[in-house]
């Protein structure tokens, strides 16, 4: 059974903007990130990587590296234990341990350029680099496939020979298609037949990278007693524990993962790349602590990008402006091993509309590119780009108002998602009405300067948000301060948003809660910071622990007041009964006679989370001579349920928008014929800079999530989705051309407008 709540309305702490507890350390340079970790006796590791996109490893000669002064250990895949094809959950991804082990260090084949082939540990970073460069690898280079069409072609080179594909339930060997699945309801043929207009389009997308500024890192000690200590930048310490233990074949509880600050993740730091290598190097080096830090080229070439691919999209409508049916093929690149975000894309693709009939077919396709990983609302941005582009085209073709059409067909409470899930209370209609009534939508676009043209786009999107396991401990101190342990990696201010929910229950200031994120030995299981789950689920754990603390304090106070705990009320931080009252922080100093310190702990596992919807409006200007696009005004409307810390909720939206704008305009893996990423630096993989962006306006709608006592919904992911289409529809508005391939870079605009 799913618990539901009528959200509280009179807040003291929730909805305010206290300064985050970890803020001071982060503005003074004191905060310790994974790369800052140092340990007595530290040595450094480095790796060598494949120069080929697809090749068989014929031999590896490590003798020259081993002979070097200062080298402690050399590692190849042969040093890893044999593990089964066991699948474990890693937040937003499923990890197949055997395949992930091969992904972090190649077995007999390399599946993409940059695939790790061997590693060394040496006295310092420079020596490790030099030693790695002396490892000689002989390859038999194989033909590579770099897009889904080539991968699915007859007689395509097979990337993972052991793969047996699941094609609509049928086992298929010798294939690059790991999975074909389908969600279908209603009579599609009849529904399309009732349409006055059917539009069918095909969209192409490239891989894009999460682009976190901090590269992956790991420091590991494998001690003589078999206990392993890890420091590694991650969205979830328990995920590092499970993946590391699984890949090196030890029980999870032998691995302790210490919390370090994380310099951005966006889904890409749910996966483990370095810790198992560092662990094995440490063991081979006699238990020395080994540290590895990835260089930026390797982050691009060998850590999870978001999948590119192709999307075929067919949508029907009546002339009265109702949707009739939708049919899509989502063909996603998984990279060098199976497992793209196509499953989540299939859940999101049609979730903004109320369809009489729909069919969603997903394809998970291997290509000789890095294994894809989660990236902020994995799969939804690509899906939103395709469906919202077709909806825009339909509206223009039929003369429908773009917001009214969406309102007339909007998903709401009771609507079924394409895969059957039924929505509780959701806020899409509220977002659309707020967009319609916004200053932005009602302001003229204005005249473009000479040589430029302006356009406006609008798009919506959905993300399902995550729930899952979280733990929080509270420890009341004599002075009324409450120490808090919680297990969620803090990437954007969640220590404060979680602490605020405990503070709200306890009726004390957020500043009087002191949050810590302990190691995996010292806190109950907590899932990754991903799926927009953290403020929701770990917040729910904090809320629950705070209520347990209050219950315990009532029992203690019943002793002091010689009454029954059931007769004691608690509101706004004050206990009262029969005319007596005492504040919680005053009571804290008087607990010794009642049995000493009061603590509480709560673990939760909410199975569902309450969906996020957004509607975005983009104005931009295209330079018709150069094709350069400048976003000049942007408004993001989003149902946030309840903004616990409005500044950081807004920050999530603004950051997601700018990533989405980058995806629409600039960002792509530019792959050469031999399968190499040509633009593997921040200079060439051009992410938006401060100079490229305007201020990002937000309108936060609060439709309380019935699954959370304060109505909290996940916020972080859905804002990356609508910009892809909103930006591209605005470019259409400016240039009069339709664009079906991302990114819509200057060259594509000039090709489309050539001669106009």
């Amino acid at each position: 059974m799913v618990a539901t709540y009528d959200a509280k309305t009179d807040y003291k702490v929730v909805g305010t903007n206290p300064i985050r507890h970890d803020g001071l350390d982060k503005v003074t340079g004191r905060a310790i990130y994974g790369g800052d970790v140092t340990v007595p006796g530290l040595i450094w590791g480095d790796v060598i990587r494949s120069p080929h996109a697809h090749a068989r490893i014929k031999s590896i000669d490590t003798s020259a590296a081993e002979a070097m002064d200062g080298v402690y250990a050399v590692l190849t895949h042969a040093d890893f234990p044999v593990v089964d094809e066991r699948e474990i959950e890693a937040g937003e991804d499923i990890v197949n341990l055997k395949r992930d082990q091969s992904n972090i260090m190649a077995d007999d084949k390399v599946h993409y350029k940059g695939h790790v082939v061997a590693a060394v540990a040496a006295v310092d970073r420079n020596t490790a680099q030099e030693a790695a460069s002396k490892i000689r690898v002989e390859y038999e280079v194989l033909a590579n496939v770099s897009d889904v069409d080539a991968a699915m072609a007859e007689n395509a080179p097979i990337i993972l020979e052991s793969l047996v594909g699941d094609h609509l339930g049928e086992d298929v060997p010798n294939t690059n298609i790991a999975r074909i699945f389908r969600h279908e309801f209603g009579n599609l043929e009849q529904a399309f037949a009732k349409s006055d207009l059917v539009i069918e389009r095909t969209f192409s997308l490239s891989m894009v990278h999460q682009g976190y500024i901090e590269p992956h890192n790991a420091t590991v000690i494998w001690a003589e007693d078999g206990n392993i200590t890890v420091w590694s930048s991650t969205q979830g310490s328990f995920g590092v524990r499970a993946q590391t233990a699984g890949m090196i074949g030890v029980p999870e509880t032998r691995v302790k993962v210490n919390y370090v600050e994380i310099g951005g993740g966006f889904g890409g730091k749910t996966k483990v790349y370095l810790a198992p290598i560092a662990a094995l190097l440490s063991r081979k080096s006699g238990g020395r602590p080994v540290k590895l830090v990835m260089d930026r080229t390797s982050v691009f070439e060998a850590t999870g990008p978001a999948p590119g691919g192709k999307i075929r999209m067919k949508v029907g409508v009546t002339r009265e402006g109702k949707v009739t049916a939708a049919d899509t093929d989502l063909i996603f690149e998984s990279g060098g091993y199976p497992g793209s975000a196509v499953g989540a894309a299939a859940m999101c693709v049609f979730a903004c509309y109320n369809w009489p009939a729909s069919r969603i077919t997903g394809y998970d396709v291997l290509v000789n590119k890095p294994k894809s990983a989660a990236y902020r609302a994995p799969g939804s941005p690509q899906a939103s780009f395709a469906i919202e582009s077709v909806v825009d085209e339909i509206c223009e073709e039929m003369g429908f108002d773009k917001i009214q059409f969406r309102l007339d067909n909007a998903a709401h409470e009771g609507t079924r998602r394409g895969d059957g899930v039924q929505f509780p209370r959701v806020g899409l209609e509220e977002c659309l009405r707020a967009a319609r009534d916004s200053d932005h939508w009602n302001s003229p676009l204005g005249d473009a300067p000479a040589g430029k043209a302006r356009g406006r786009g609008i798009a919506t999107a959905y993300w399902m948000n995550g729930g899952g396991k979280s733990t929080c401990d509270l420890m009341l101190q004599d002075d009324g301060t409450v120490m808090m342990n919680e297990g969620s990696a803090d990437i954007g201010g969640t220590r404060v948003s979680i602490a605020m929910q405990a503070a709200e229950v306890l009726g004390i200031p957020a500043e009087d809660i002191r949050p810590s994120i302990p190691d995996t030995d010292s806190i109950g299981f907590t899932g990754v910071t991903g799926g927009s789950r953290t403020t929701y689920a770990t917040g729910l754990a904090a809320y629950t622990a705070a209520h347990l603390l209050v219950d315990e304090l009532k029992d203690r106070l019943a002793n002091l007041w010689e009454t029954e705990s059931g007769k004691i009320d608690f509101a706004d931080g004050v206990f009262s009964s029969d005319g007596q009252s005492i504040g919680i922080q005053e009571l804290a100093g008087k607990l010794d006679p009642t049995g000493g310190p009061v603590t509480s702990t709560a673990s939760v596992n909410p199975s569902s989370a309450g969906a996020a919807y957004a509607a975005h409006i983009c104005d931009l200007e295209v330079d018709l001579a150069t094709g350069k696009t400048d976003v000049i005004r942007y408004t993001a409307v989003q149902d946030v349920g309840k903004a616990v810390h409005p500044q950081y909720a807004e920050g999530q939206i603004q950051g997601g928008v700018v990533q989405g704008i980058g995806w629409a305009l600039n960002e792509e893996y530019f792959i050469t014929d031999d399968g190499a990423m040509a633009n593997r630096s921040f200079l060439d993989y051009r992410m938006p800079t401060s100079l490229d962006m305007p201020m990002i306006d937000t309108i936060m709608i609060e439709v309380p999530n019935p699954l959370h006592p304060y109505g909290v919904r996940g916020v972080g992911e859905v804002p990356i989705c609508p910009p892809l289409s909103a930006v591209v529809q605005a470019i259409h508005g400016a240039t009069g051309k339709r664009y079906y391939e991302l990114p819509v870079k200057p060259g594509r605009i000039l090709e489309a407008t050539n001669g106009d």
Binding site: T28, I213, E261, R296, Y648, G651
Partner: protein, 159 residues
Amino acid sequence: MTTTSPSMVHIKTTVNGQVHELLVPPYMSLLDTLRELIGLTGTKEGCLDGNCGACTVSVNGRIVDSCLVLGAEVDGKEVDTIEGMATPEGLHPLQQAFLEEAALQCGICTPGFLVAAKSLLDNEPSPSEGRIRHWLAGNLCRCTGYDKIVRAVQKASTQ
């Protein structure tokens, strides 16, 4: 006469007002000199090729990507890092504004932004929004979309 490259370079440099006398390997970047030899890890490594700005420090009053400068090059020079920004009297107005305006999320780019923004305000106390965006274009942030960073610099510039 034979020429051999020295195995170590002797330097004397002032970091955040304190003199350090060091032997640095000739290949070692200023970034690693600060982080590995002096122990100041507030300056961050993001790309090692001068494109992200996370390692921004000031050398004789001019901001540089410390991954592109050798430790040996700061002999006799004054280096200022994030660790030198606050004083015993309190935070620099930029640091306070970053906290109040929620201008950081993960915080990895924050030291570089603060050092870069300080050098702007030291020379131009009241920059326009466009000037701030132009000055900070060498520092990448992937979390915030820059909005709150620009607002924080604007706030600090009026103090």
